[in-house]
Every structure is written in C-alpha cells, then in structure tokens.
Amino acid sequence: MPDITKVKLDFPILSQKMNDQRLVYLDNAATTQKPKKVIDAITEFYEKYNANTHRGIYQLSEKATAMYEDSREKVRAFIGAEKTEEIIFTRGTTESINLVAYSWGRKNIEAEDEILLTETEHHSNIVPWQLLAKEKGAVIKYIPVDKNGKLNLDNIDQYFTKKTKLLALIHVSNVLGVVNPIREIITKAHTSGVPVLLDGAQSTPHMPVNVRELDCDFFAFSGHKMLGPTGVGVLYVREDILEEMPPFLSGGNMIREVTMAETKFEDLPLRFEAGTMPIAQVIGLGVAIDYLKSIGMENIWQHEQEIVNYALAKIRAISGVTVYGPEETVERSGVVSFAIDGIHPHDLASVLNEAGVAIRAGHHCAQPLLSALGTEATARASFYIYNDQKDVDQLVDAINQAIKILK
C-alpha cells in the first residue's frame, strides 16, 4: 500500500495552512489537487515545446503532436479501449455527453423514441437529453432510486421497450459514492439492443476501469477529477458507432479538405477535435495517468475503502447525524454525504472552513436524486489518495465544534 504521508508531499497545495489550521481537502468529487509532476509537465510544455499540433512542419510542433498523441495512447491503455481512434479529447465529462447527444443523438433519436436515464444522474447527464428530447419530440424515462439511493432494478425489463434508443447512466454516484451494478444493467440493455452511455466521471479516478469488460458503448470522464488539469476530458466511443457519427464541433483541425462548396473530414479521432485543443492539459492528463498507475488503481481503491469505512463509522457515531445512502455495506467509493439535525449544510461548511476543512455543501448538481432522498442539500466529504485518517479526525472534530456553535 502507498505511504500516504509521502503521497501528500507530492501535492504542493496540501502543504499550506488554511485559517491557521492544517488544510484538509475533502472535495475530491468536485475536483482533485494536482501532483507536482503534472504541474511541472504543463510548465515544461509552455517553456520548451509550446506549438500547435498536427500541422507544423517544425520540431516544436512535431514534439507537441507526439506528446499529445502519446497522452491519447496512455488514456486508451488506462481504460482498456481497443484503439486510440476511439479516444476523443473534450473539455470534460459535460462536453463528452453533449457530443454524444448532439452528434449520435440527433442522428439516431426521433419523435416518440425513449431515452432512458436514472434518478441518480448528475445534471450533466440529464440536461443534454432533455434538450434533445424537446428538439425531437422524444421521451425521457427514469429508472427510479429508493430512499437510500439504490437503483430499483426489480422490474428493469419494463424500461426497455421497442422505442428505447439509449440508456445513459452514472457509473458511481457523485452524491453517495454508490457503485451502480453496471455489468448487470448493461447486459440487460444489450439484450434489448439498447446502447449504453456510462458517465465515468466518479469511477475512472478511483477504481480500475476497463471499457471492454464493462461492454459500454460510450464512456465519458474528466481529467481534473483524476489529478489532471481542468479543461480536458475524454469521450470513448466504440469504433463502429463512432464511424457513423456526424461531426459535432466543426472548423479547423477536423478537416481533410475544404472547398467553398463542401468539406471532407479528417479520419478518427481528429474528426471530433475541432480547433486548437487544450494541448498542455491533454499532456498533463497523460502525466496524471502515469502518476495514478505508479500507485496502482487497485491500491487507490483499497485505500479509499479504508478511509471511507473509517469515516462512515466516525460520522455515524455523531449524535443527530443522518448519513445518506445505503445503510448496509455496499460497493461504495470514497464519498460520504450527511446532514446534522437542525444545522444547514452551508453553515456546517462555513464552520468547517474555519477549521481548515474543505467540504461541499449543497445539491451537488443532482437535484432529482436529492429530492428522492427527501432533502434539498447535504454536506459531502469526498476522499482521494492523499487523504488519511488524520484528515477524517480533523473533519469529525470540526463537525463537533460546529454542533457546539450552531445548535
């Protein structure tokens, strides 16, 4: 197992004090901190080989292109895709899902067709489909969630009808950390001939992911939630589907030849990467993947299991606390959503900030799920590879302090 004291030292931001306290960063489901290696890689790009990719006939551009494409190969291997042509760089999970909705969705979804989602989705996997459904006259259906945040799959077959064109769902809940039983669901969908889009924003950073084993058709995730820079994300699409998809954004970089009358488009994957891409960020993501692999995704998952179980036990012991999500032990990533009787999560977050502890308070961009859980806002602590038991202890001390001030 990794030595977390040493891991912490790889992250320059974590050495600072916050309000005279040791900084404890527990908002990793929102974004993660960056190791020095990633920060250095971005600086090195701008200091040594900044140039536009895929068109310069000079050494700087060729180096930038090689590094950019090298990152694509790292991403491919990291998620177990078959070909680099299946890896498209985007701005993040949100753009990846929008790309599928605008390109694949507009071509394949017609009036009265059904798009199947779940009540646990992040807004980024609801809103693009609502817009598409409105444009096409299609219908959105939701697989329901119980009051503990578990998908109700008892009658799952009824949701796949002849009109169902797509199932889009979250792999790991950003609010509860619950890992959905993806293989079972995808098998059901494919039996009915329904392709599946998986929102992997909260799974890819925390556990080994293999898109071929999962057998998903589309897979979306973000770089900044897995130690990489903001502004870069990934969309994986199985090649036979991607080949048939019309362009999304269009312009430079994604073309082969443009005349005044028409355009021939680039081959995959560049056909889906219009304009100058976030080159430094793509390279930074590649270095983040190197870092994650040096620790090992299985080790990261195990470490988070230890931390989350330690945190669950300590937080559940606080009087007046509600911990959201299933009570029984389920597959759960490093996320704890909770509330304290009579204390609004915003007030809790303010007091915790004073104690150097950064958590998230609010609806976490998943209002339908919070409404199913019977609340409007929760406090959420989310962990990553650099968090240790001492961080959890500081969190729990701060919660107890908040109860004294606010109750």
Binding site: H344, P345, H346, D347, S350, V351, E354, A361, G362, H363, Q367, L370, E376, A377, I405, L406
Partner: protein
C-alpha cells in the same frame, strides 16, 4: 471576520426563531424566490395599507442560518416602509442589518436572497 461573528447570538436567534414567520390570510401579493446554487427558498406574502406602506409581511423558507436570519431581520425592518423606500434598499443595507460587512462572496448570496425576493416580488 471570524466564524463567531457570523454565528453570533443575534443571528442564530433570528434563524432559529424567525420573526414574521408563517402565512398571511389577507395579502396583496405573494412571491417565491430560490437560490439555484444552494436550493434555499423564501416564500412571502405582503399586505400594504392605504398609503402604500407595508402593513404586514410573512414568510416561510428553507435554508442556512445566514439566509433565514437575513430574511427575518430584513422583513422586520420593512414594516411601515413605502414601496418606494423598499426599492431603494441596497445590498449594504442588508449586510448592515446583519452586522456582517466582510463575509465571503458565496455567503453574501445567502444574505441577499431575502432582498432579491422582496424586490422581485414588488416588481411583479
């Protein structure tokens, strides 16, 4: 501004025991405002007298200490004020009522939800 300033006794008291809480049976208009960032909500009814002064006001809401205390303090202060006077109220006036002049931008939004509700309600 330290945490004990934000959560001093007067503010906690207004949040726990908000003044003018509930519903008016007889009112001139009703308005609901929510903060999309945190989901805080305020619904209020307002009754004017013959001189277009606030005769009565009542609200119900969900939210953090800062948003609920600000609503309690602000609504208490507008009783007897004219619609014109209310339209002139500024952000600084609300922060003055709360005695908070240096809270972080994200918490300022909590404090100002009540003012936004009042102004949008009057506009309609």
């Amino acid at each position: 501004m330290s945490i004990s300033d934000i959560y001093r006794e007067e503010i906690i008291d207004h949040a726990k025991n908000p003044r003018n809480y509930g519903k008016l049976a007889d009112f001139d208009f009703e308005h609901k405002e929510n903060n999309p960032v945190c989901g805080d909500t305020i619904t209020f009814q307002l009754k004017l007298d013959g001189q277009k002064k606030v005769k009565d006001i009542a609200f119900e809401g969900n939210g953090c200490t800062v948003s609920q205390a600000a609503t309690s303090l602000l609504f208490e202060s507008v009783k007897g004020k004219t619609v014109r006077e209310i339209k002139k109220l500024s952000q600084a006036d609300v922060l003055d009522l709360l005695g908070l002049d240096n809270i972080t931008p994200s918490r300022v939004k909590c404090a100002l939800l009540s003012l936004e509700a009042l102004k949008n309600g009057i506009k309609q």
